[in-house]
């Protein structure tokens, strides 16, 4: 098992390497390069000379493989993800300020999603086709069906008109004021979480229906167990693999895809950083964000894979 984990961790390296090559190349090949954008910042009009000079200064005049060599060299030997082309800040420090926001938002959203999805999913499997099932599912699906930007906008607009309340726009880091921070995070996290919860809830319901018909559930009943205990102790676990996988699959959405909510709720997270960086063609930042998101996704998927073994002992033996 350790060997497996070790192998997986080692496998991260080539994966990250290949992926970084791809992203490194792709972001630079997208039409509209950073120099064009920098030139357009000028009011006086620029010429070819300016352009060449900029290319050289930014080190973009070298062939791509050389640029990559320099970049990966810095990363390998100095643990440095290079610097933003615009701000000149180190990419690591930029990500370091953004990551906690995203991480917190994602974690909260995930917690909310799970704490809604699993009980509702289980409930509606148990009450299959009863009114409760219909209502629970409908509610959950409505949350899925309403785009998060829409809910987000409603939450910002209407309360501000009716009650003079609007979400806080000044981001307060968790370290400085946890209460304020949570107050700020909870709404976007809830919106994100609830919309994620629908799929998880449906997966839970489906798997529950599969499991509840198994013979060992009958055995548990024959022991005189309460239904609720049967569910929590015997049923949930056996239907959990796809649900857990779903959590892994939703990670990229949480880390990279919360842009919209970050935008509406003025949260300085990775999504916004990425969006800005992409818009500004800030190659090192894009690559850096990608690398960090990638690492996170891969680690979470590793955890998910390991959890298969915890959930299903048959899988453990490989």
């Amino acid at each position: 098992m350790q060997a497996y984990i070790l192998r997986r961790l080692l496998a991260l390296l080539p994966t990250l390497f290949i992926a970084s090559v791809i992203v490194f190349a792709i972001v630079r090949m997208v039409p509209g390069d950073v120099v064009d954008l920098m030139l357009s910042q000028n009011d006086a009009g620029a010429n070819q000379r300016t352009r060449d000079q900029l290319l050289q200064t930014l080190g973009l005049d070298k062939p791509m493989w050389q640029q990559y060599g320099i970049w990966i060299g810095q990363l390998a030997f100095h643990g440095d993800l290079s610097h933003s082309l615009w701000q000149g800040d180190s990419v690591i420090s930029m990500i370091a300020t953004r990551l906690p926001v995203t991480f917190e938002l994602g974690l909260l959203a995930m917690l909310i999603a799970l704490s809604v999805a699993i009980p509702v999913g289980v409930y509606s499997a148990v009450k299959q086709d009863a009114a409760g099932d219909y209502i629970a599912r409908s509610f959950s699906l409505l949350m899925l069906a309403m785009p998060s930007f829409w809910i987000g906008t409603m939450v910002t607009v209407f309360p501000s008109i009716w009650w003079g309340w609007s979400p806080e726009i000044h981001y307060m880091p968790l370290r400085e004021d946890p209460v304020q921070n949570l107050r700020q995070m909870i709404i976007p996290a809830a919106i994100l979480g609830l919309s994620l919860s629908a799929i998880t809830m449906r997966m839970t319901r489906t798997m529950m229906l599969e499991v509840l018909r198994q013979d060992y559930i009958r055995t548990a009943r024959a022991k005189g167990m309460k239904e609720s205990l049967i569910l929590t102790r015997h049923a949930i676990r056996n239907g959990l693999i796809p649900v857990v996988t779903l959590i892994g699959a939703q990670t990229p959405i949480l880390i990279g895809g919360a842009v919209i909510l970050e935008q509406i709720f003025v949260l300085p997270g990775m999504g916004m950083l990425l969006l800005d960086a992409v818009n500004q063609r800030d190659y090192p930042v894009v690559t850096g964000v990608f690398l960090v998101v990638g690492l996170a996704v891969m680690l979470i998927n590793l955890l998910v894979d390991l959890s298969y073994g915890l959930i299903d002992p048959k899988v453990r033996q490989r």
Partner: protein, 550 residues
């Protein structure tokens, strides 16, 4: 600088110090770029660094409309010559036609900054240093300072600019433009790119940067400037704290304004303004014409737009008045580009333009069809029009334009492009036959040059006319302003008539602020993109704020 006495009544209240000011600025789209001026990143850079890096020239805010003057100060790149006021410069005069002597203000000080510099006086060497640093930056726009030979310090407070040739823009290029900030040597040595080192003579000091969220400034206690209110001078700035909010989402901006989380919101669409007036009647308002005038550039080097008749026909085919009336709810102006009405003296109103120009703004589908037929397109044609997905309003409007064109048989296929790709297509001159651009024209002397000069980055229509370029150059070299205005007015009429684009109307936008924001009339800019002197003069009526329940 003396305050207008006529407005004594308006300023009768005695200002109070303290409080904080929260603003969401005009371009909230992108967070601050570099903090180092030598990185040459124009607009957004000045917006934020302008709070502490001052320049030689600024404007006389007492000439603001709200203070009884005639200028709204809502355009970012240019200020009328008669409104210019020395900022770090006290006075200036031409010693010879090519030598300018500038006397610097005395007693201006850089505040102390821990680990960067001690408090010290601002001197001529600082200007020389800053200029040379900008001039020698590898990221410099080539040719930007070519009109200058050298900049020297004659003594501690006197500067001598030696010109190679006269340039009408000289005060804008290094004085109150985008690349004119004075950054002390100590800061660059400590690392000018790091916001923690930033320190200038301006009214505010940068104290915190929350990437992608906000910039926080505190007042510079030893700021030199004063404001006379009710005949009494007051040290500036009034507020203790100034916060710039980076809020991309408009709904969020407006909600924040509505709930008093923002004191000033600079840029609001007319529609949102109407709603805000209803839901929050206490707000104060100012209306200004958007600089981002849209036009569908038509590549004059590509068929069928090589034919001026086709280009004129497309202009006539679009019902611009209806767009103003219906799409912009009546809150728009027909003729705004390439000379914005705010360029007093340079702008000719449409009614004074030749008939051939006026014709372009009248809806006349019959004539359009006729012109097209004459040009050999009786059945019309199809073309692709590239549009940036970032301009939401235009994304809405363009289908409407397409519908108008359809009626004269021209099919405009809208090709949305992502921001970077779209912009880059223009700057590297590979844009399509039709190309929607909303790039604003920063000042009257540059507008014609950068939008229609051969090879210029904003020249989406690929206008290429040597005589035109020469006339523009003439205007730039012209020392006499009325004569310069004359040339530029003529050139404007010429280029508009040639219709290298479908000229679109521009909508008005609004600035709103709460009544407790005092000594403010909706001004947005002094010089290029800066707002520091405006914000320095604002004081907060904290009692009023409390009475209003905030």
């Amino acid at each position: 600088a003396a305050a207008g006495t006529a407005q004594a009544q308006a300023h009768a209240e005695t200002p109070k110090y303290g409080g904080s000011l929260d603003v969401a600025t005009t371009s909230t789209g992108v967070a601050t770029l570099s903090w180092d001026l030598a990185d040459w990143q124009a607009t957004l850079q000045t917006r934020d660094t302008g709070q502490f890096y001052e320049q030689l020239f600024s404007v006389d805010l007492s000439k603001a409309k709200s203070r009884g003057g005639k200028y709204p100060f809502t355009i970012s790149g240019w200020q009328p010559t008669d409104a210019v006021r020395g900022e770090l410069a006290e006075s200036w005069n031409w010693v010879t036609p090519l030598v300018l002597e500038v006397k610097l203000r005395q007693g201006v000080k850089f505040p102390a900054k821990q680990g960067v510099m001690a408090e010290r006086e601002f001197v001529a060497d600082d200007v020389v240093y800053s200029f040379n640093r900008l001039n020698n930056s590898p990221k410099k726009t080539q040719g930007y300072y070519d009109h200058l030979d050298k900049v020297e310090a004659k003594d501690r407070h006197t500067l001598v600019f030696t010109f190679k040739q006269f340039l009408a823009d000289w005060d804008y290029r290094f004085g109150n433009g985008f690349f004119s900030g004075i950054m002390p040597r100590e800061v660059t040595e400590a690392g000018g790119g790091n916001w923690k080192n930033a320190n200038g003579t301006g009214p505010f000091m940068l104290t915190n940067v929350a990437q992608g969220n906000s910039l926080t400034f505190t007042r510079n206690p030893i700021y030199w400037d004063q404001e006379v209110i009710g005949g009494k001078p007051y040290k500036l700035p009034f507020v203790d704290k100034l916060t710039h909010r980076v809020i991309k989402d408009e709904a969020t901006q407006q909600a924040a304004l509505r709930t008093g989380k923002l004191d000033i919101l600079s840029s609001i669409s007319w529609e949102a303004a109407r709603e805000l007036k209803k839901s929050t009647p206490q707000l104060q308002w100012n209306r200004w014409l958007s600089m981002a005038a849209a036009r569908v550039a038509l590549r004059v080097d590509t068929k069928p737009f090589t034919d001026v008749r086709v280009r004129r026909a497309l202009n006539m085919a679009v019902n611009k008045q209806e767009i103003i009336d219906k799409f912009y709810g009546g809150e728009g102006e027909m003729f705004v580009f390439p000379m914005n009405p705010a360029y007093v003296g340079y702008h000719t109103p449409l009614k004074d333009m030749p008939a051939s120009v006026q014709e372009l703004f009248k809806y006349d589908p019959a004539k359009a069809r006729k012109l097209l037929a004459e040009a050999g397109y009786p059945k019309g044609f199809a073309f692709k029009m590239q549009i940036c997905t970032c301009t939401t309003e235009q994304m809405e409007l363009m289908p409407l334009v397409a519908a108008y064109l359809e009626m004269v048989g021209v099919r405009m296929e809208i090709v949305p492009m992502e921001y970077g790709a779209h912009l880059s297509a223009m700057t590297s001159h590979v844009n399509g036959a039709g190309y929607l651009t909303t790039v604003s024209d920063v000042n009257p002397t540059t507008s014609l040059r950068i939008n229609f000069g051969k090879g210029q980055v904003y020249n989406a229509p690929m206008w290429n006319d040597a005589r035109f370029d020469a006339r523009v150059a003439d205007a730039l070299a012209e020392r006499d302003e009325p004569r310069r205005q004359q040339i530029l007015r003529e050139l404007t009429a010429q280029i508009v008539e040639q219709a290298p684009a479908i000229w679109m109307p521009a909508p008005y936008r609004y600035t709103a602020w709460w009544p407790w924001v005092k000594n403010y009339g909706g001004e947005l800019f002094v010089g290029a993109g800066r707002s520091a002197p405006i914000h320095a003069r604002v004081w907060i009526d904290q009692d009023l704020k409390k009475t209003l329940g905030f």
